[in-house]
Point group: C2
Chain length 501, copies 2
């Protein structure tokens, strides 16, 4: 239906984005924020039609899509507020000391945009991490034009959202080229976008294979560029003994919900649960299995996702030492009425020894599947934590005693994750400044940055220092009188004051 854009077309898009960059970057923060808020309004204006199209393309239910659009609008508005507030600029001023030997010049620093940013959206978040999603909002806040490659699994949805963004750009009199929407089902379009010399950064949410390929292309360019790929995670959950004993049934219910939320199609789905061998864990596995067996299978995002789920789950279950605990019984009894593309909720278990020896079991199975790892003792649990790859999240189900008594374990868990949850579930990523959605490789390609929360703006900016500039020639952000009223670090002290020079 949509023809892939040719390399020549990509070049024209990037040239236009490059020209737009030099106009957009000079606009005041308030204009960027106004543009972002206008996009939020246009998203709302897309009305029911957008929800209907997204439902058709993604199999996601209406309530979920409505709330995801709400989240996307919230992101645009809250990052717009952060953009205007200007703390992300990291404005720093050191005033001159002419008497010093040699004289110390006046130096002032702030973040400026990198340049055009290419965004590859997520299949599982058709709004919040796609066309007008978090990466786009962060890049626009930073002062960067955005080029979105429509996700092949929800191209119509993406096209409607892109039109909304362009309407907002028009209403806000943004420079032509501030936003572009391109199509590419094959890898050539993506590659051309990454390799184009005017592309200065990349945002991606999706699989390890896709993200790592983009990272490699980005790093191997003549001029390497930052690639922020969020590539998923198994989100290990450590069940500590005192806490587990206190509420086996409650924790099983909680986790049956989290594992199967949205048909397990969240990058924060808990895929690995680690406990200590014994009666409590046995009861837990039994209870969790029973709960999983009562979860209704539901259609997954698209045929490719179902296929991958079946294959990865199948491979995991075939590994020696892995035991199937439960599959949804609602599937077994009603297979003839099962909706097309359904993902069957499944729970497996194995020993820590088997897990430690078999890297296949460390891989994410995207969908409603989890495996319980049974450890002989806390040392073995610590060994599992040490051997796990980088994760978006890790969760401790633990009492204060559990935490205090197992310092080495807690330390090892800290070391592998971007967010550490105590007595909760990893699903549900709050959009706020303190959120970190990122983690050591391979959870992301750069664990130093977050793709959720306004700190994500910093992914697309770099500092520039102005030395010995007269006040009138400085950008407003750095002027003596602090006309924007932003926080700045002046001679090593945070302040909103104007400078009396």
């Amino acid at each position: 239906m949509y023809k892939d854009n040719s390399t020549e077309e990509i070049d024209r898009v990037m040239q236009t984005a490059w020209r737009a960059f030099h106009q957009y970057r000079k606009l005041p923060l308030s204009s960027r924020a106004a543009f972002m808020r206008a996009i939020a309004v246009e998203l709302e204006n897309c009305g029911d039609e957008l929800i209907r199209v997204a439902m058709t393309e993604t199999n996601l239910p209406e309530t979920r899509l409505r709330s995801e659009r709400g989240r996307t609008i919230f992101q645009l508005n809250s990052y717009a507020a952060a953009c205007e507030k200007g703390e992300w600029l990291e404005a720093r001023i050191d005033t001159a000391i002419p008497d010093k030997v040699p004289p110390k010049p006046d130096i002032r620093k702030m973040l400026v945009p990198l340049g055009p940013v290419v965004v590859f959206g997520a299949s599982n978040f058709p709004f919040a991490y796609s066309t007008a999603g978090g990466d786009t909002a962060c890049a626009l806040a930073a002062g960067c034009p955005v080029i979105v490659k429509a996700h092949p699994a929800h191209t119509d949805t993406s096209t409607i959202v892109a039109a909304a963004i362009l309407t907002a750009a028009d209403k806000c009199k943004m420079p032509r080229g501030i936003f572009a929407h391109v199509y590419g089902a094959g890898f050539e379009t993506g590659k051309a976008l990454v390799l184009h010399p005017h592309t200065k950064a990349l945002g991606f949410t999706g699989s390890y294979t896709g993200g790592k390929q983009l990272f490699d292309w980005g790093s191997q360019r003549k001029e390497p560029i930052p690639v922020f790929a969020e590539m998923g995670s198994t989100n290990p959950v450590f069940l500590l003994p005192e806490r587990l004993k206190s509420d086996v049934a409650g924790i099983a219910t909680l986790y049956a919900g989290s594992i199967n939320l949205g048909v397990g199609q969240f990058c924060t789905k808990p895929g690995i649960l680690i406990g200590l061998e014994g009666n409590d864990l046995q009861t837990f596995v039994h209870d969790l299995g029973k709960a999983v067996s009562q979860v209704n299978p539901a259609p997954m995002l698209h045929a490719g996702i179902v296929q991958a789920f079946k294959e990865k789950k199948g491979t995991a279950l075939l590994q020696e030492g892995v035991h199937l605990v439960a599959e949804s019984e609602l599937w077994q009894s009603h297979s003839e009425t099962l909706p097309k593309l359904s993902g069957i909720p499944t729970l497996a278990t194995t020993s820590a020894k088997t897990f430690l020896a078999n890297p296949i079991l460390h891989q994410e199975v995207f969908g409603p599947y989890a495996i319980v790892i049974q450890c002989k003792d806390i040392n073995e649990m610590t060994e599992v934590a040490k051997q796990l790859e980088g994760q978006l999240t890790a969760t401790l189900m633990a009492t204060e005693n559990d935490i205090r008594d197992n310092e080495a374990l807690v330390e090892a868990i800290h070391n592998i994750c971007g967010r550490i949850i105590l007595n909760g579930v990893p699903t549900g990523v709050e959009v706020c400044l303190s959120m970190h959605h990122g983690g050591p490789f391979p959870a992301t390609t750069d664990g130093r940055f977050s793709s959720v929360g306004a700190d994500g703006i910093k992914r697309f900016a770099r500092p520039i220092a102005f030395q010995n500039w007269s006040n009138t020639l400085l950008p407003d952000e750095l002027k003596n009188e602090n006309p924007l009223g932003i926080w700045r670090t002046v001679n090593n002290e945070l302040s909103k004051d104007s400078l009396d020079l």
Copy 2:
């Protein structure tokens, strides 16, 4: 004299560093700062012997080395102060909103260290950007153990400084492995360090070839790691017409000094000066050439540097359309008494047309050499700015009128550099928070970070978010009562207050 460490030895060093990491990261900020200050004291304690050895190894004069040691001590002390002050931690707190649907959990975020950092020092800064230099100080402040590969050109100096660091570590009861010093004249040691799985980041200051190789190794690891390579720059200086006319002789004198400072061996040496054809520029070239001809040749750092200088300068001068303006006459008349390894101050000139067509002329010539580019008009000067590669610095010699009348030029200059100087010289890099010593590739491999100033600490850290942790279990930095008294962003507002929860 020093045997290269074997791959097995490197492995042992990295294993020890990894163990030290897990102890060091948990120490309070005040202990890290105390260790850094102790290193500063031990550096001072090295006394005249360190200066004497460094003079022998680097050919740098005594006054320069004494002041560089002072700078290194200042760096350690000022980054220690920044470490304790804790603003670099980017502490963020969002308190719970239990009534929200779904309930909003308590989330708190701060930066934590990446892990062991490998530092490759600079030949031109045997103290300030070597063994106990900026990268080491930043990594220690961030909470990372440091492994320094001794620079082959000043191994004795590095060995003395390493011993001072180990003495300080001992006095401060730091974990064994917090610092290690290894030797490797060949590339194998460096490669083994970069590829070791326990290496989590890299700091480097040196040539493009060296830095880019390290970046490639770092990016192509199974687990890619951040590589901060500062790879030099030509530091273009744009001579705008009104400013040049006002003080041709003064600017020529100023730049003769900057080009030849430290025998041109600074990564901020101005290597390219760009002006508009005409009488003023002609006079400037004449005056600058005259001044250069009166600069005494002086010995460069080592034989490899002199050789590279001669070759690169020779190649540049051989390019069609390039004219030699002046060489030091003090060499021509006294060649028999010329110190060994001398770099001969040299000035060349060419047209913008020649410059734009020949990428060889864009390359840094490390040493006392500069070339004046003569442009037909401001448009051609803007074209030069647009075509220049990423730079650590760019300088505008300009009046306010010059700036206001040439927006496109100023815009293009902003876009290529990390620091933009008005009516000054790029040499002299102030150590302060507002300094940005970094710039778009190929000036550095990551223009988003600085290798000078306390913001450089952030190169070696990543955020971690704590969700739903009880106050007693949180790190001090994030506790309600704010026991460290640091700045934190609490529910979107910067504050030093304690939380009344």
